[in-house]
Each structure stands twice: as C-alpha cells, then as structure tokens.
C-alpha cells in the first residue's frame, strides 16, 4: 500500500497494535492459570521433598527478617508440623550472587531440641551454565548440605570436613551463592520463636550465626521470653527485639 498520509499510517499501525494486544490478552487468559498452578505445584512438591512433615503452615510474614549479609533475601518461611508438633522450617531464599543471576533455594530445616540443622535443600530456580553451575541441581551436591548447621563454608578442591561443603568443580561462585542462600535460611529460621519448643538455654545456639558476623549490627539474644510455653504454635518471625 502506497500512502504517506500520516493519519492513515497512524491508523493502520494503531489497528495492528490493537489486534495484537487483544490476541495477547486472550492467550494470557489461557496460560495464566496454568502458570500459577505450575508454580504452586512446584513449591508444594519441593517443600515435601525438603522436610519430613505432615503439614505445613501458611507463609509467615518475613518482612521483618534482617539478614546479616547482603545479596540474599528471604522469600518465604513456613513451619512444618508432624502430629501437631513443630518439627522444622521450610525457608525459601534467593541469592543474587550466582554466576548467571538469581538462585532460589528452598531449605528444609530440622529443629530438634532448639538446634537447627539442614535436612535437605532444593534448587527452585537458577540460570547457571549447564555442565558447570547447573550441576548444583544434582543430588551429589545438594545432599552435602544435609545435617549441616549455620555458618556453612565452601571448600575448593575437595575434602570438605565438618561444616564445609565441596564446591562444584569449576563453579565456585555458584557453590558459594547456594551456600549463602542456605546460611541465610538458617539465619532466618533462627529468628523464629516457636513457643512450644522455646527453651532459654538453647538461645545462644540459635543466634550463633549472627554473632560471628562482625558487621552485624542487630542486637542479639534479646528474644522476649515466652511465658506461654504450653501453647501450640504462636509464632514470631524474625524480630530481633528492638533495643532503644
């Protein structure tokens, strides 16, 4: 079509854009529920994989959680219950320091006698290099985190002992980012007080990860003692008590 009338030109372009927009809106209305369902299903499957619990609570409010490190954030925190007892936490954290961007990790944390150890982790999303960083999704790497406690460090070149994990060869950055996400999850979980399990003597344990951080400016160990020790599950998240 040969025309240079600007009104016609604008009208034609407007028509094309409008049609495309409606087509996209239609496709979106079809795919949106499927996408939402996929995401939910993925999360449900992952949380059952990382923590042995019969039931999971709803997401707790994580807005108040202050982490001692930057580059990592807490996306969600849930409690897991077996026979009405809180047996642990499922914490989802995102570390932005992966080689290919954000790495989202779901960490199942066992809480036994007030001590938090990692049960299992699941990588929810990552965009690392296949064959290198993407190997973080393999069980041989993920299973290393089982039983570890806060302050996990990465060891290069194999032979990790104690609270260390072996870095994926050629992908130290990825290994560190995943570890950071796991440590942040442990840190977030340590700030959760479940009153039925609350035991004053355990308190130093649960704040340990922060006390070794020199930059940490959060006042520690000031959790308000909970008198209602018999209550089933009142929960406080992430508050380090405000000290004036």
């Amino acid at each position: 079509m040969k025309t240079s009338n600007p009104v016609v030109l604008a009208l034609v372009l407007f028509l094309i854009t409008a049609i495309v927009t409606f087509a996209l809106a239609f496709v979106n209305s079809l795919t949106e529920p499927v996408i939402a369902m996929n995401t939910e299903q993925k999360i449900t499957e992952a949380q059952q994989a990382v923590l042995d619990a019969d039931e999971f609570s709803d997401d707790l409010d994580t807005a108040n959680i202050q982490l001692s490190e930057t580059g990592v954030s807490v996306d969600a925190l849930k409690l897991g219950f077996t026979d009405g007892e809180c047996v642990g936490y499922v914490v989802t954290t995102t570390c932005s320091e992966g080689y290919g961007g954000d790495i989202q990790v779901m960490v199942g944390i066992n809480n036994e006698g007030g001590e938090n150890t990692v049960n299992k982790i699941e990588i929810l999303s990552l965009s690392e290099t296949p064959g290198l960083g993407a190997n973080a999704q393999k069980d041989t790497f993920k299973d290393q985190y089982g039983g570890k406690e806060a302050g996990i460090t990465v060891k290069k070149g194999g032979g990790a002992t104690g609270n260390e994990i072996d870095a994926i060869s050629g992908a130290t950055i990825t290994s560190k980012a995943v570890t950071k996400a796991v440590n942040a999850a442990l840190e977030a979980a340590s700030g959760v007080v479940v009153s039925s399990d609350f035991d004053e003597s355990e308190e130093p344990e649960s704040v340990e990860p922060e006390s070794v951080e020199p930059e940490s400016v959060e006042p520690e160990g000031a959790e308000p003692e909970n008198a209602d020790a018999g209550d089933a599950v009142p929960v406080e998240v992430g508050e380090k008590a405000e000290v004036e």
Binding site: M1, K2, T3, S4, V8, L9, V12, L13, I16, T17, V20, A23, L24, V27, N28, L30, T31, V34, I35, N38, K42, S125, S127, T129, P130, G131, L132, G170
Partner: protein
C-alpha cells in the same frame, strides 16, 4: 518444485546461521546444551513461520513507510505468545532459555525474512520459507550445541556418553562463551572449505 527449493534454501544454501550469519546472539548464548538448542530453534522457527504468514497476508495492506514498525509489533506479539505458552506448558525449558526468548523479537533472522521474503511473496511460499529458515536455524544450533555439550560436559541431552573407564575430563571452556566462538569458528571454517570446493567446480 519451487516449494522444495524454498525449504532447501533455508536449510542449506542460505542457512541463516552458517551462510547468512544472522542471529548470532542466540546462537552463541543458547547452545550450551542440545535441549536448549532444540528449544530455542523451534521457538524461533514457530515465530518465524507465524510472522512470515501474517506479514505475507498483510503485505498489501501495510504501508511501506511504517512496515518495520508493523513487522516488529507482529513479531513481538508472536514471541510473547510463545513465551507464555512455554512458561505454562514447558516451564523447565522456559527457565533455561530465560532472557533469550524475548530476544527472539530482535533476532535479525526473523525481521530479515519478513523484509526480504514475506513482504514480497505469497503466503504459501512465505510459510515454507519460515519453515526452511527455522529448521536451518534449529539444525545449526543443534550442531553447535552437540559439539559443545559433548566436549564440554561429556553428555548428550544430559546423559553421559563416555564410559567411565575412559576417565573423560570434559573441557569446561566449551560450555562458556569462548567455547561458543571456537565451535562456531571451526564449523564455519569447515563449511566454507566444503563450499569453496563446490564453488570452484561451478566456476
């Protein structure tokens, strides 16, 4: 006859990656594994076929002054459809292709075929051209990805192919950006050498 020629043209004689050297960004970036390459190639092919058809249908209606803008809107529309469909039905592929799906919009193969072919030819031929170019792009990506995945990870489609006894040490560099350039360069060299010989005969 012309139909077959159009398809072969995209697959071989004017292969977008190896001959026209178009769309290098996704070629280099998404060929770390065969599954990614297939996903990227087929997504681009789907967009290419659809956009070629629509642009060919509208070729007499779109004023030439705004044709590029119109093409981009149409292409972007199809890319977004592909993106939403992948996210809904193939979420794992969607995650590994990541940013490169939206980037199909600016893949110069697609705009190039719209401008060079679809805007001048019938719907049927344009669709075939899209198919041929799309498959040519897919084959090229798979070929590069095959080399990179085998040498860089010792795997094909995520499965180990070397017996453990060989103690094969994959060269990780093949999976990183330099590996993409090395592979592409060597493959281009081989293809040019083969074509050069054929060309001399004809001359």
């Amino acid at each position: 006859m012309k139909s077959i020629k159009t398809i072969l043209n995209g697959l071989l004689y004017e292969n977008p990656t190896f001959i026209l050297l178009l769309g290098m960004c996704p070629t280099l970036a998404t060929t770390t594994g065969v599954s990614n390459a297939v996903g990227m190639g087929l997504s681009a092919a789907a967009v290419l076929i659809c956009s070629n058809i629509v642009i060919s249908l509208l070729r007499k209606l779109i004023p030439s002054k705004i044709r590029i803008a119109a093409y981009i809107v149409i292409i972007a529309g199809f890319v977004t459809v592909v993106q939403m469909a992948l996210e809904a039905y193939l979420p794992s592929l969607y995650e590994s292709l990541g940013l490169y799906i939206p980037l199909i919009v600016v893949n110069c193969i697609i705009l190039g075929r719209a401008e060079a072919f679809a805007s001048k030819n019938s719907v049927w031929l344009s669709a075939l051209d899209g198919l041929g170019m799309g498959l040519g792009f897919t084959c090229a990506l798979v070929l590069i990805a095959l080399v990179r995945e085998v040498l860089g990870a010792g795997e094909i489609l995520g499965m180990s192919i070397f017996p453990e006894a060989w103690n094969f040490q994959p060269a990780s560099i093949m999976l990183l950006a330099p590996g993409a350039f090395l592979t592409l360069g060597v493959l281009l060299g081989i293809i040019n050498a083969v074509r050069g010989r054929g060309g001399k005969k004809n001359a």
